[in-house]
Symmetry: C2
Subunit: 406 residues, 2 copies
């Protein structure tokens, strides 16, 4: 009899966004006349930049000819894309990352999930609280999280690092020794961005203890504040302790087009092994690369036209975030984020819990948000709103929310 | 200090195709004037069917507009594609598979690799010998294979089921109890196709013992012999014991376009858990779906024009396989496969070993093949050739090989 991986049975019910979808569907079914505005899930809404679709059309044309056809590509991604990334996302910021330290993939979610393959089962894992659920669930599936306690909302073997108003939404170094540390800046869900000085102690901690930083910078393109680092490798010493996850999803509108990359520096060694070689082996064995057409689309993000078009789209989302942040603040809510991030993190009024406030905004304002409690115990008492909506709808949503909470 | 997954350190050196690439590159560097013909790796060469590229162009156009833009899609794939598959790949063969039993992915290699997430570490794994290396390596990485012995070419905890001339390249049921059984028909690398009667004992065995069949039918489109099943679910009872992997790679030329699917029937339960629910959870947590543009391309494979164009391409590859099989047989080699499969499996002459014959064909015929030993100990003494080349080059390669072995 085959034994299943019974860690799966320990996972609590629904994934956060499924539960939101369920509540929204139920409300819509009961009130089909209501026009909902969705500021919940972090999905983009603007079309792909013209430079990207032009490159994709060209690549599709190539695939239709014998001479231009591309079969299996390198599992790690094409050199043209890895080189563009190395030059423009790193070298241009004074960071030396070689193309063979960059692995193209179908998504940061895939990579954040699959990276656990490289690590033993007994590592102590530290996560921010609140947190992107993928870090937690993938470690639970692979047996590192222990047992889930419904009451506290915590797994017995994880170390939770609260990110709350009291510490400016910046985690403190863990009080016990940990081995794998997930950090995400600009943060999902709080929208907080970390400065050089705030990141340095983490690099120092990881190099001193031999821990690994799993650094998710999927939202770096939203950084506007000068001096806020766009990559963990802007911190000296990070190449010997950090893996970085990046994505075209939020930067260039690729949520439905699927392209991302992960950086594993060759200087990153643990237990006598090269993590770069291990990830390369993992990807060559369990992955066959990203569609040629998609990689050509991603490459176009790095052309002058592509960059300008991406910046124009980002400006729309950044302004949406500003509208939400300023509107809710004007209505008396305590808000953070939304400056270097598409996410605004708002305290619920009168101490009501996240799901209650979520339901209230759904039912009274017809606005869909994300309840902070869905991201972890310290997210209780908050909701997340995103700047990814359409500008007019975003303004309308803010007015509706203001009317409800006044 | 983080502990790495030290199972990675047990993996022997290079992945098969990397070693081939290395030898080919070395030979080419030393003999730049020689024109090599590659009949080694199983990669397609014909352009994407016109119906597919037309659908992809249309989808790219949609992605360029606000109204047609698609962000995150369902992790499991769009209904339009899952429904086409259920209707045409299953229902049309008298098999009831529901769309929610079909999970669209970026590749059969990904799914064959990632499926190990669902199973506990102590399962006994049985593989055919020779075998597609991914089944072995992914179980080695997740700790089920034990220790690799260089001399025998075997892992200590795997059960090897020889597929050799003596048993018509059909594995015998294992003599000891096993839990996870990988089967691939039409087979990679031997090209053997299994009949209904040859598959029935496996379904019976798995249902009786509680084992799981992991059935790779990535090459089903090459079946020409009437009565040979295209899916494991043509065998009664398979829905309670089998997961099936399918791909558009070899069927429709998607090796560089990346689309595949895996069927996990809802009737498949083990240890009180639904494998369908577990795979759904795995995919929702660690995967974000296949590009919209690619899924529209895959959908076009099921249109009347798409089907006709795919069949025309397959006919080219099938004829190539016939040319190889008949040519090598005429030259005195013992060959099998190549009828219901793009793969021809040829015995080396005079009992020389696989790599020696590989090197001889590379150096004297300038033809790249795949050494059978790379697929496992029972592949020793064989080479694999594929029908995926261009027709003229394939004919030329066969003539060159004939000249060398005469």
């Amino acid at each position: 009899m085959v034994q299943i991986n019974d860690n799966f049975l320990k996972l609590p019910g629904s994934y956060l966004f499924s539960e939101i979808a369920r509540r929204v569907a139920a409300y819509s079914a009961a009130h089909p006349e209501k026009a909902l505005i969705k500021l919940g899930i972090g999905d983009v809404t603007l079309p792909l930049p013209q430079a990207v679709t032009a490159a994709m059309h060209k690549a599709v044309d190539e695939m239709a000819t014998a001479s231009g056809f591309h079969g299996y590509g390198p599992e790690q991604g094409y050199a043209f894309l890895r080189e563009a990334i190395a030059a423009q996302d790193y070298k241009a910021r004074g960071v030396d990352i070689a193309p063979d330290e960059i692995f193209i993939s179908d998504g940061a979610k895939s990579d954040c999930g699959n990276i656990v393959d490289l690590f033993g089962p007994d590592n102590k894992v530290a996560v921010c609280d609140p947190v992107y659920p993928v870090y937690v669930d993938t470690n639970a599936m692979s047996g590192r999280a222990g047992v889930y306690d419904e009451k506290s909302g915590k797994w017995s073997n994880l170390v939770y690092m609260p990110c709350v108003a009291e510490n400016g939404f910046m985690p403190d170094l863990p009080g016990e020794l940990v081995d794998m540390i997930y950090l995400c800046f600009p943060n999902n869900p709080t929208g907080a961005a970390a400065t050089m000085d705030q990141l340095k102690p983490w690099v120092e901690y990881a190099n001193r203890t031999g821990a690994i930083l799993l650094y998710d910078s999927a939202y770096e393109a939203f950084i506007t504040t000068p001096g806020v680092p766009h990559t963990i490798y802007e911190i000296d010493g990070a190449q010997t302790c950090a893996i970085e996850f990046r994505s075209f999803s939020k930067t260039a509108g690729f949520t439905g087009t699927r392209c991302a990359y992960t950086v594993v520096p060759k200087a990153l060694q643990r237990g006598g092994a090269s993590l770069n070689a291990m990830w390369n082996r993992r990807q060559c064995t369990k992955f066959n690369g990203v569609p040629y057409v998609v990689q050509r689309g991603a490459e176009a993000v790095y052309t002058p036209e592509g960059r300008a078009q991406v910046q124009a789209n980002l400006a729309v989302y950044q302004n949406n975030a500003k509208v939400i942040r300023e509107g809710l603040a004007a209505a008396g809510l305590t808000v953070s984020g939304g400056v270097d991030s598409p996410y605004v993190w708002a305290r619920t009024p009168d101490g009501v819990d996240s799901w209650t406030f979520f339901d209230r905004l759904l039912q009274e304002a017809n606005v869909v948000t994300t309840p902070g409690a869905g991201f972890g115990p310290s997210g209780e008492g908050y909701i997340r709103l995103t700047g990814f909506g359409q500008p007019d709808a975003t303004k309308e949503a803010v007015e509706r929310v203001k009317a409800v909470i006044r």
